[in-house]
């Protein structure tokens, strides 16, 4: 990854429909209750904290479409594992 090429797009102001369409385009979805991000019907777990990722707090990084909970620990762990993203 080019160190100057990654643009971070905040979804904070994005409408729910937009986020749902975005997830769909990335082959992801949400569960019946609308709480958690799913892939193939299964909740997606943040690999760094081993917890299901909430729809209203997701972070999605390129590569293998890595879905994280948007918190400092998971973000810092991701950067540790992907120094090219720092």
């Amino acid at each position: 990854m080019d160190r100057t090429s990654l643009e971070l797009i905040s979804l904070k102001e994005a409408p729910k429909d937009f986020k749902l369409e975005l997830l769909k385009a990335l082959e992801l979805s949400i569960d019946d209750r609308g709480l958690y991000v799913t892939k193939n019907g299964e909740p997606v777990k943040d690999p760094y904290i081993d917890k299901p990722v909430r729809f209203d707090n997701m972070a999605i990084f390129p590569g293998s479409t890595i879905v994280l909970d948007d918190n400092p620990l998971s973000i810092a762990s991701y950067i540790e594992d992907h120094p090219e993203a720092s």
């Binding site: 100057t4 643009e7 971070l8 905040s10 904070k12 385009a25 917890k51 390129p62 620990l73 540790e80």
Partner: protein
């Protein structure tokens, strides 16, 4: 991250459905990432760039993420909800000991120790060993007092004195902030009245009280609280000459 990236785009995007295909293409090309809120990534980015983190990074190995989280905790101290959420995440991944280490960084104690060790030791390996030793023992050496502990002054005072007597470094560190400062003071008062005459060094910074309790036997030998930590073999040899 954003320091070398193009930055965070927020609130200025066209959120129309037709934009999605373009964004997804850029995502597949590894040009963009999506985050809920910029504040967390900015917290991480800012702390990674601090001189304090860069200094600590030279001497901590596997604990570096906890060190970074300690600095992150400090930077979000004014937002109790964020602090609690991050503490929960740290606890979930690293347990109580991990929270302890992060909190020791948060309150500045690890940096204080490191600054001292850098002056004391020449070799990086000696500094690393002593710092690691402290972090490994932090659960036994440090006690974070809460305001709820006001009901357990006697019990905690006894616990502190017992640990000081038993642990190999003969020292305990107590911390309290806000309302808990008075609880720490009450505990120290109780320890002070013990006939063994424990040595106590306390310092107040803002709304935070840190107190070091030492075994009476160390009274004549201490110039700094870190003097009780085990020295590396190299340092011991140097002192024997």
């Amino acid at each position: 991250m954003a320091s070398t990236a193009k930055g965070v785009t927020e609130g200025t995007l066209d959120w129309s459905a037709k934009k999605i295909s373009e964004l997804v293409k850029r995502f597949r090309d590894k040009e963009v990432a999506f985050i809920q809120d910029k504040k967390n990534i900015e917290t991480v980015k800012q702390q990674r760039e601090t001189e304090e983190y860069k200094l600590l990074l030279k001497y901590v190995g596997k604990e570096r993420l906890l060190v970074l989280m300690g600095l992150a905790l400090r930077s979000i101290e004014k937002n109790p909800d964020r602090v609690q959420d991050l503490r929960n995440k740290i606890h979930g991944k690293y347990g109580k000991k991990g929270v302890h280490v992060a909190e020791l960084v948060q309150i500045g104690l690890v940096t204080e120790l490191l600054t001292r060790l850098v002056k004391l030791f020449g070799a990086q390996v000696d500094i690393e060993k002593t710092l690691t030793s402290f972090l490994d023992q932090s659960e036994d050496l440090a006690l974070f007092i809460k305001k709820e502990d006001s009901k357990r002054i006697d019990r905690i005072s006894k616990l502190v004195m017992d640990r000081v007597d038993v642990n190999p470094v003969h020292m305990m560190i107590l911390f309290g902030s806000g309302y808990a400062m008075d609880v720490v003071k009450a505990i120290l008062k109780r320890i002070e009245s013990d006939p063994r005459e424990y040595l106590i060094q306390a310092q107040i910074e803002g709304l935070q009280l840190s107190a070091f309790v030492f075994a009476p036997e160390l009274r004549e030998r201490l110039s700094h609280w870190s003097d009780t930590l085990p020295k590396s073999k190299r340092e011991t040899k140097r002192k024997r000459r």
